[in-house]
């Protein structure tokens, strides 16, 4: 029994050692930190010195960047590191990074011009070494130079919604024009009450259906403009102002036209001559359509009419 127990212990020991080998190998190999060192002009910085100092052990691992600005720091144990990047004619850059031992961590560094040898305070200005100007030299603030992804996302959404607004707006022209054409066909009586066209129920239904389609498309189109994200601090100017001003005509017109149309339809169905405010259905519809067309032209202005000559 004893030898068996001894064998078991040996086997268990061997198994334990073998099971630990991969973990030990990973620990020995460590994590590889890669990245690139670029100038603020987007050019790779070659021969930059990169030093990663472990916050836990205090040990430093160093390397230099290649011609393409790429660097590789192998065998880093998991933990917190301070990475210092320095290069001639550039200001030093310090970054902190936490390595978990998982994945392929990268740290890309952008160096700003500066650093290097300092000119003596009493040295003549002309004797100072001539340096390539940097963005800091131009006096741009950090805010002016830094991107704003939130604003970009807002602009992207705004453009996306306005594209839909534009497409739907153009599509709306079709049922709107068709509605204007079928309008007179749906009219039952002339100005003096005489019948000029005998409207069929089909004519009336077609006109009403086109009107409903126009209204549905119109208000969907309006939705994409009204609820497109606004960009703060932008003062509106140019053709967009006329485009928006005309909406104050075709907007109420698009509400009023179907209401007046329904009233006219009701009067006609009752065998009455269209009268009262309902008799303005056609006039309001024409004004609305003209304002709508003008708003499309306004936002497209100036139009190069003889485009085929280009």
């Amino acid at each position: 029994m004893r030898p068996q127990a001894g064998n078991s212990a040996v086997y268990a020991g061997i198994l334990l050692v073998f099971s630990m080998v991969p973990a030990l190998a990973v620990a020995q190999q460590g994590t590889v930190l890669t990245g690139t060192v670029m100038s603020e002009l987007g050019k790779p910085v070659a021969n930059a010195h990169i030093a990663a100092r472990s916050a836990e052990s205090g040990q430093t691992v160093e390397t230099t960047s290649g011609a393409d600005g790429a660097y590789r720091l192998p065998a880093l144990m998991p933990g917190n590191y301070t990475v210092t990047v320095s290069a001639d004619s550039f200001a030093n850059k310090e970054s902190t990074i936490t390595l978990t031992g998982a994945g392929k961590p990268t740290l890309n560094v952008t160096l700003a011009k500066g650093g290097g040898e300092q000119a003596l305070p009493n040295a003549p200005a002309a004797a100072a070494p001539a340096q390539e100007p940097s963005l800091q030299d131009l006096g741009f603030s950090q805010q002016q130079m830094q991107g704003n992804p939130q604003l970009q996302a807002r602009l992207d959404k705004r453009t996306e919604m306005l594209k839909i607004h534009q497409r739907l707006g153009l599509i709306t022209v079709l049922p709107m024009a068709a509605d204007l054409i079928t309008g007179p066909m749906a009219k039952a009586k002339g100005k003096n009450g005489q019948t000029i066209t005998e409207p069929s129920q089909t004519n009336l239904d077609l006109h009403a259906a086109l009107g409903s389609t126009t209204a549905a498309l119109y208000f969907t189109t309006a939705y994409f403009a009204v609820f497109a994200p606004k960009v703060p601090g932008v003062q509106k100017k140019g053709a967009i102002r006329m485009h928006e001003a005309l909406a104050f005509i075709h907007g109420p017109g698009m509400i009023l036209t179907p209401i007046l149309g329904a009233a006219a339809f009701k009067q006609e169905q009752a065998g009455e001559k269209v009268h009262g405010i309902a008799s303005y259905h056609g006039t309001v519809a024409y004004i609305t359509t003209i304002a709508y067309g003008a708003s499309i032209i306004a936002v497209s202005w100036p139009i190069h009419l003889k485009f085929w000559e280009k």
């Binding site: 002009l41 987007g42 050019k43 003549p124 002309a126 004797a127 001539a130 340096q131 390539e132 100007p133 940097s134 963005l135 030299d137 131009l138 006096g139 741009f140 002016q144 130079m145 830094q146 991107g147 704003n148 992804p149 604003l151 970009q152 807002r154 602009l155 992207d156 705004r158 453009t159 306005l162 153009l170 960009v231 932008v234 003062q235 509106k236 100017k237 140019g238 053709a239 967009i240 485009h243 936002v299 497209s300 100036p302 139009i303 190069h304 009419l305 485009f307 280009k310």
Partner: protein, 181 residues
């Protein structure tokens, strides 16, 4: 021998200011940068007067840096300008940065041929031997020309109107006045 030493020392001292002046520095005083966008039904120009620039000439080579915020280009229509900023990812990459290099000898010529590196819309494009006309007006130097930018150089998705996209070419006209410092 002593005389030779004194003469050499005198010559050296006399030449020192010239050697010191060999580096010239320039600052952008006024500028007008105008992009041109072309569509079968539209011709649009957007102008910015907000460029900043500095230049250094050293050892026979001039290095100039010009930067302009994308949002300062004005086409006369705020809606179109916002669309332009969106299309060129101007909120994410707020500056157009132009890096120009040319021989110092050309600072005295009528034409400067510069190699340009343009950072725009998160991309970098290079343009070789771009001609600019140089006009001297007293201490000021006026530089005019055009940088042949294209949408494809900067991976800009061309905006379209009535489903027709704008032309790929968006040349940037340049009119700058520089002062030597």
């Amino acid at each position: 021998m002593k005389q030779f030493f004194y003469c050499s020392a005198l010559l050296l001292f006399a030449l020192t200011p010239i050697a010191a002046r060999a580096d010239s520095q320039w600052a952008l005083d006024q500028s007008s940068l105008t992009y041109h966008m072309s569509h079968p039904m539209h011709e649009v120009d957007g102008t910015s007067h907000s460029a900043r620039g500095k230049g250094v000439c050293h050892a026979g080579q001039c290095e100039f840096l010009i930067a302009v915020p994308v949002k300062t280009f004005d086409s006369g229509d705020s809606n179109r300008d916002l669309h332009m900023i969106e299309a060129v990812r101007g909120a994410q990459f707020p500056l157009i940065v132009v890096h120009a290099r040319f021989p110092e000898a050309e600072t005295q010529e009528q034409w400067i041929h510069a190699n340009l590196e343009v950072q725009f819309a998160g991309q970098i494009a290079h343009y070789a031997n771009v001609p600019f006309e140089r006009t001297q007006r007293g201490s000021e130097v006026r530089i005019t020309g055009a940088i042949p930018l294209t949408c494809s150089d900067f991976k800009i998705e061309r905006p379209s109107f009535l489903t027709v996209p704008i032309k790929n070419e968006i040349p940037l006209r340049v009119d700058m006045t520089w002062n030597q410092q």
